[in-house]
């Protein structure tokens, strides 16, 4: 089974979270900038005079598609890395994913999600691989 993790957390925690995920072998991911609020409600910014309230605060949303068996470890990693303990740390959602298709090769399902040196290969005793920078995009 394939799952999608959607984690919404503080922008300033993005690098820490990314590093922690690479460390456990999560390689594929994408990030969008979002604005929103939960319990925190908003913050006061300083304007020309006094303050004004901004209720939708910037956060990042990190999306990862991965195999069922890696979900718990990944959630735990994100939660630890993104946490500050203050209100407004964000939320993690997990959804089922029906299928995955890699556009370049046509691979489907689990095959479309594997990378050299990723969390599955590490579990099978593979070596950690640095993410390669490609000359072209």
């Amino acid at each position: 089974m394939t799952k999608k993790i959607e984690a919404i957390f503080r922008e300033e925690k993005l690098n820490v979270v990314k590093e922690a995920l690479y460390e456990i072998g999560i390689i594929g991911m994408n990030v969008t900038e979002v604005r929103g609020h939960g319990r925190q409600g908003g913050i006061e910014l300083s304007g020309r005079t006094g303050s004004y309230r901004v209720d939708l605060l910037p956060r990042v949303q990190l999306n990862i598609i991965l195999s069922d068996r890696n979900v718990e470890k990944t959630i735990e990693t994100i939660q630890q890395a993104a946490q500050t303990g203050s209100i407004g740390d964000g939320l993690i959602f997990v959804y089922p994913v029906d299928d995955v298709i890699r556009i370049r090769t046509g691979e489907r399902g689990h095959d479309a999600l594997t990378y050299e040196g990723d969390i599955d290969m590490l579990a099978e005793g593979g070596a950690k691989v640095e993410v390669q920078m490609q000359a072209t995009d």
């Binding site: 020309r48 006094g50 901004v54």
Partner: protein, 407 residues
């Protein structure tokens, strides 16, 4: 026959360029404070004013302001289309530079004044209505008041009112006209409910910086000569801006954190307040004038917010109230030690100067407010001052200009 002084002429030409730059600078200053869907529209309100009023001034504006006085109320038509305005000096206004240089320098003041009012229009004004208003306002408000204060025989000049570079003519008229216009125009949709955050404060800082620089031409150039008075005006101008910026920083710090938007607003308010006084007061007085201008405008903004009035970019608080304070302060701090052609103020033993200043302020406020209110009402009935609700939600960049600031 008056001799042309090349130094004076060179300085006034440079000052003309500096004051011209202030209107595009104002475009940035205002542009940064609106939401990004209205950024181009806001910038354009200032920019197109350079075009509109340049033409109005050449055709009719200059002669209405500086033509031979008709009973002290308005200039005659002897300079219509800049006829009889040439390379020879006009001793009434500037005896050592070509008359045409004086009229060009004054043109830049006539341009920036209606551009200042546009801070009250942003994010909802119908462009067509704005164009009509601006030309009529320049003709029926700016040109008469410029004549009263600066024209030989003008009613306020005749009673001895001092306005070195336009505290009354420029800032009071613009500020109180913005107030009247905002009352007729009404508030933006969602005003007071949704946050309307400035989209690009660095743009505002850029604008404020260029305004500060341009103001050396605005006030320093108003000496109309490259002399000690011009230097005094330049130094008092810089000093007042500095004092107001620092005081505003502490005011906003007291309420939250030292806001950059607040600091640059303070600088502009200090520049406004010193404008009528720059060539009549000492640098030490400039510290007091600038320093007190900051709380005057700061609390005027808070008052305007309590009224629930959407005078969107606080033209009234910054220019109207800053200009009023500056005009009154001229009646307190002016001294003939700085400018023998001026007068002594209250603190130099001449309380009547303060009363003269106060009278000029009241007349300018009442006239600008009333005429603008009527003009706005008439244009509203004729063309409609506002875009539709849907056009407002989409933003004026797309709905009025078919363009956007960022792709």
């Amino acid at each position: 026959m008056n001799e042309i002084n090349t130094g004076d002429t060179a300085w006034v030409l440079i000052a003309t360029a500096l004051v011209m730059m202030m209107t595009p600078a104002l475009a940035f200053f205002y542009g940064g404070m609106v939401r990004k869907k209205n950024l181009l529209s806001t910038i354009n309100l200032s920019f197109i004013t350079v075009g509109l009023i340049s033409l109005q001034w050449v055709l009719i504006g200059y002669t209405l302001a500086f033509g031979t006085s008709q009973g002290g109320l308005i200039g005659g038509l002897n300079f219509f289309g800049l006829s009889n305005v040439g390379a020879e000096p006009n001793a009434d206004y500037a005896a050592t530079i070509p008359h045409l240089a004086f009229s060009a320098y004054q043109m830049m003041f006539a341009i920036i004044t209606p551009a200042l009012i546009t801070g009250a229009f942003v994010e909802r004004v119908r462009f067509k209505a704005f164009l009509v208003f601006t030309v009529l306002w320049a003709t029926f408000v700016y040109d008469p008041v410029a004549h009263w204060v600066w024209g030989v025989g003008g009613i306020l000049r005749s009673i001895g009112a001092l306005d070195f570079a336009g505290g009354t003519v420029v800032h009071i008229t613009a500020g109180f006209s913005a107030l009247a216009f905002a009352m007729v125009l009404g508030k933006r949709k969602w005003f007071g409910q949704a946050v309307m955050e400035p989209s690009n404060i660095p743009l505002t800082v850029l604008g404020a910086g260029l305004l500060w620089m341009g103001w050396f031409g605005f006030n320093g150039g108003s000496a109309l000569a490259a002399n000690g008075l011009a230097v005094n005006a330049l130094v008092t101008t810089n000093t007042a801006a500095a004092a107001a910026a620092v005081v505003w920083m502490f005011l906003s710090w007291k309420d939250n954190k030292p806001s950059v938007l607040g600091i640059v607003t303070g600088a502009v308010v200090g520049l406004v307040a010193i404008t009528p006084a720059a060539g009549f007061v000492t640098p030490l007085s400039a510290i007091v004038i600038g320093g007190l201008a900051a709380p005057v405008s700061y609390y005027a903004i808070k008052l305007r917010q309590r009224w629930g009035l959407d005078e969107s970019l606080d033209v009234w608080a910054c220019h109207g109230m800053g200009g009023t304070w500056g005009a009154l302060a001229t009646g307190l701090f002016a001294t003939k030690l700085v400018n023998p052609a001026g007068a002594d103020g209250l603190f130099y033993g001449n309380p009547s100067q303060f009363l003269i200043q106060a009278l000029a302020v009241v007349v300018a406020i009442a006239f600008a407010f009333a005429v603008t209110f009527v003009l706005a009402k008439l244009i509203h009935r004729w063309l409609g001052l506002r875009v539709t609700e849907n056009e407002e939600e989409v933003g004026l960049d797309i709905s009025e200009h078919g363009e956007r600031a960022y792709a």
